[in-house]
């Protein structure tokens, strides 16, 4: 294993056809324990509501359980949808987990793009960019000073003490999934590390990172020290064609994701702040990908899925182009077989990752 390379697992907790909810949840814990055994650095929990695309409604609750079950691996949320929760409560919960785990918690934030979440939780989705930004400031204020107050359209309360203080100083690591230019610009201005999405190819991610870097640099952040995490779907096999075998599940996964988001329906058309997402969907349609599942081939092409050598080649190139040193893999997306998922994890551990060389230079 390359000592500078950090790696982790994304816990998708997808209930694909044929799996029971109990199996999905149990497997997530099982995979995390296995990841720790393999020496992975991170496990990431995902927040989704009202969809089988992901069964975990509370990423922090799952993270808490996993932190309690493990001893060394860091556990992060990817992500918490800040506008649908109160940021001060989140600040408290993260600080508590940080204390209880001895500094092993990581906190991913974002505004999400699932319309139903906002409807059910009674938050105006078109205001979520401002709410994310304000929520972040409140949490940082609480962690930095031990108290916070707010007077705004979204949060309005007098100064309160926030407990406990964080174990990690000045605060637990915060990440964000930023894909829209507006959120990227904000993240860059704050120097918040990115969780680089598995649905974008290297060149798209590089474009985002270059944009982010320009802003971060202009705001005085050392862009070489920002610990971005590359997220990728991972699947390696030596005895069968895992690329072909992964297609049905990926097709289902992509369709379920797009359906759950509703962003591309008439309802989502007029929601402010998602022009870039809609443009990407339009791009896909113009490429001839009428159904979301038609994008599965692209997912297979851009992610390390295939023979160990194919995975080495693809991942090396991604790491070289993007200059990141931490990658987390969603192994579950390519198969609903525990055996295949664990074989992939083994294969990455034994054959793929030891052969990844981290570049000195970003191209």
């Amino acid at each position: 294993m390359n000592n500078d390379l950090q790696w982790g697992i994304f816990l998708l907790t997808t209930q694909s056809p044929g799996l029971t909810p109990e199996e999905v949840i149990r497997r997530a814990t099982d995979y995390t324990l296995y990841a720790e055994k393999l020496g992975m650095n991170s496990a990431w929990t995902l927040e989704h509501h009202f969809t089988k695309y992901g069964l975990v409604g509370s990423a922090l609750t799952q993270a808490a359980f996993l932190l309690g079950k493990t001893a060394t691996i860091n556990v992060g949320t990817a992500i918490n949808v800040i506008p649908t929760e109160h940021p001060v409560r989140l600040a408290e919960e993260v600080a508590l987990l940080d204390q209880m785990s001895g500094g092993r918690v990581m906190f991913g934030i974002g505004r999400g793009h699932f319309i139903k979440d906002y409807m059910v939780f009674g938050v105006d989705m078109s205001k979520n960019t401002e709410m994310l930004m304000e929520g972040y400031e409140l949490m940082m204020q609480a962690w930095a000073t031990g108290s916070c107050s707010a007077q705004s359209e979204y949060y309005n309360f007098p100064k309160v003490d926030v407990n406990p203080p964080t174990y990690t100083k000045p605060n637990p690591p915060v990440f964000t999934v930023a894909t829209s230019p507006e959120t990227l610009e904000w993240a860059g201005s704050k120097g918040i590390p990115l969780l680089l999405t598995a649905f974008y190819d290297d060149e798209e991610l590089l474009g985002m990172m270059q944009f982010y870097n320009e802003i971060a640099d202009a705001n005085g952040h050392d862009i070489n020290a920002i610990p971005h995490v590359l997220t990728r779907i991972g699947g390696a096999a030596t005895t069968f064609d895992i690329r072909a075998a992964s297609v049905p599940l990926l097709n289902w996964w992509m369709d379920e994701f797009t359906g759950a988001s509703s962003l591309y329906t008439t309802q989502g058309k007029n929601i402010r702040g998602y022009d870039w997402h809609r443009r990407r969907r339009e791009q896909a349609i113009m490429r001839g990908e009428k159904k979301p599942s038609a994008g599965s081939q692209k997912v297979i092409d851009i992610n390390p899925i295939g023979s160990p050598q194919e995975c080495i080649d693809k991942l090396s190139r991604s790491m070289e182009i993007l200059g990141v040193r931490h990658a987390a893999f969603g192994f579950e997306a390519v198969s609903d077989s525990v055996q295949i998922v664990k074989e992939s994890m083994d294969c990455f551990n034994e054959e793929v990752l030891p052969k990844i060389t981290l570049p000195e230079k970003v191209w």
């Binding site: 798209e204 270059q210 320009e214 443009r279 490429r287 191209w363």
Partner: protein, 479 residues
């Protein structure tokens, strides 16, 4: 900052290279900042020359739709790639933000102009379908095939030239190897990156390779020149000489620039409108473009009024499109021009952003650029003829109707374009570019001709040449 290079639509990374250690090439920019770019190695040359692409077999509609798909991203003001590009033009090339944004807007417009692409092909080839299929024309079926691989030697003065060169190559289905200009190492790479973002595997994307080599390099450039089917040379006579030295005899060399452009203002009442348009033509690209007007000929009867309005218009345009950063040499040249003309010009008008210099009977070349307009009185529009030769690209005329009176002599003397004032930078559909219809030069026409059984116009019988000879009937068949 390190710039990327691309081989067959793919970023050429350290692990793609022949050797692990490389010395990058430094490109000094007009702003004083340096850029680094990796050199092209043998593997890059081999791959970019030998790689196969499906572009020749890709339907035109797929190419045009792809370009439009990319263009729609550029149309979004907050498209990250666009924002990065605009920042780079400002930071490294010294563009004002308005100039850089305008450049990005043009990229969007050109890529999105689907109908215009079809119409341009139709204008230049006769029928846009010809790049896709055999088209029946009189007694033949005709098809326009790509030349093969083009080497673009791009200019640095007008970023848009890169876009135009790339679009022309793509819609005529040619593969392209692009040599970046040291003065604009951004535009074509930014466009290719936006291609990759939309569809890395599209034949248009994979048809482009982009890199840089210094003019002094005796390995890389000649290697490419030797292998390509045509060279598109944006530059002067020394560049042309380089192409002729290194290309095969059969290689087409299609040359653009360098040229100069000027404006004629005839009798008119609406000085203000005319002045605004001239100010625009003299401000885009800070006069570095071939089509930028540098010398303006004005009828004696309106000269003073026009000059006054022009000064106001130059100020207005400099507020709308602030001037870019000049190099020390350019600034010195401009200062010297002002000093010299202080004694020669009755009333020298100037500001930090522009200057208007009155001159008599001389050519305003070499020109100091920097939005300096040489203004010259004429007794009649025909007085401009002595200033016209083949080095003139664009002549702007106001009022437009005056063009009909002047066009024959202007054309005879060598100008390439006659346009309405205010439109120097707008190449109208069907227009020529430096005397050429460029896309016509990027294809090879092949005809499948009609059989003898097809009786041709004016011919009473089928062509049977042996029988005609046997019967000595050739003259009988001449209509």
């Amino acid at each position: 900052m390190q710039l990327p290079i691309f081989c067959c639509g793919r970023r050429y990374t350290q692990s793609d290279r022949d050797s692990a250690s490389i010395d990058t090439i430094t490109l000094k920019q007009r702003t004083g900042l340096d850029l680094e770019i990796p050199p092209i190695d043998k593997g890059f040359i081999k791959r970019s020359i030998e790689a196969s692409t499906d572009l020749a077999d890709t339907p035109l509609c797929s190419i045009v739709n792809f370009l439009s798909n990319v263009g729609k991203n550029w149309k979004m003001a907050d498209y990250p790639r666009r924002k990065i590009y605009v920042n780079h033009l400002c930071r490294y090339l010294g563009y004002s933000r308005a100039m850089a944004e305008n450049e990005a807007n043009w990229i969007a417009l050109l890529l999105c102009a689907s109908n215009r692409i079809y119409d341009s092909l139709a204008c230049e080839l006769g029928d846009w379908n010809m790049v896709d299929r055999w088209i029946c024309r009189e007694e033949v079926n005709l098809k326009a095939l790509p030349l093969g691989t083009l080497l673009h030697l791009l200019p640095g003065n007008v970023p848009l030239s890169a876009v135009i060169s790339m679009i022309r190559a793509a819609v005529t289905k040619n593969r392209s190897i692009i040599k970046l200009s040291a003065d604009d190492p951004f535009t074509s790479s930014a466009i290719l990156q936006s291609f990759i973002e939309v569809d890395a595997k599209h034949p248009v994307t994979t048809s482009f390779s982009i890199g840089y080599w210094p003019r002094s390099d005796s390995e890389v450039g000649p290697q490419f020149a030797k292998h390509v089917d045509a060279i598109i040379a944006w530059g002067g006579n020394d560049l042309l000489a380089w192409c002729q030295k290194h290309a095969r005899e059969s290689t087409d060399i299609i040359k653009f620039g360098p040229k100069r452009s000027l404006t004629i203002i005839g009798e008119c009442d609406d000085f203000e409108e005319a002045a605004k348009r001239v100010a625009f033509d003299a401000s885009v690209y800070d006069q570095r473009a071939c089509f930028s007007t540098r010398q303006v000929f004005v009828m004696d009867s309106i000269y003073n009024d026009f000059k006054e309005k022009l000064a106001k218009a130059m100020t207005l345009v400099s507020e709308l499109i602030p001037k870019g950063q000049a190099t020390l040499d350019e600034l010195a040249d401009q200062a010297l021009t002002l000093q010299q003309n202080r004694f020669l010009t009755p009333e020298l008008l100037f500001s930090d952003a522009w200057s208007i210099v009155d001159i008599d009977s001389r050519l305003a070349e070499p020109h100091c650029l920097g939005r300096t307009i040489y203004l010259q009185k004429i007794a009649q529009p025909e007085a401009v003829y002595p200033y016209i030769d083949k080095s003139v690209q664009t002549v702007g005329i106001y009022p437009h109707g005056l063009g009909e009176r002047l066009r024959d002599e202007l054309a005879r003397r060598g100008v390439s374009r006659i346009v309405e004032v205010g439109s120097h930078n707008v190449f109208r559909l069907g227009g020529s570019h430096d005397g050429l219809l460029p896309m016509q030069r990027l294809v090879r026409f092949v005809s499948q001709e009609a059989p003898s059984s097809q009786i041709i116009k004016g011919m009473p019988a089928e062509i049977d040449q042996v029988l005609i000879l046997e019967n000595d009937e050739f003259l009988d068949f001449i209509p």
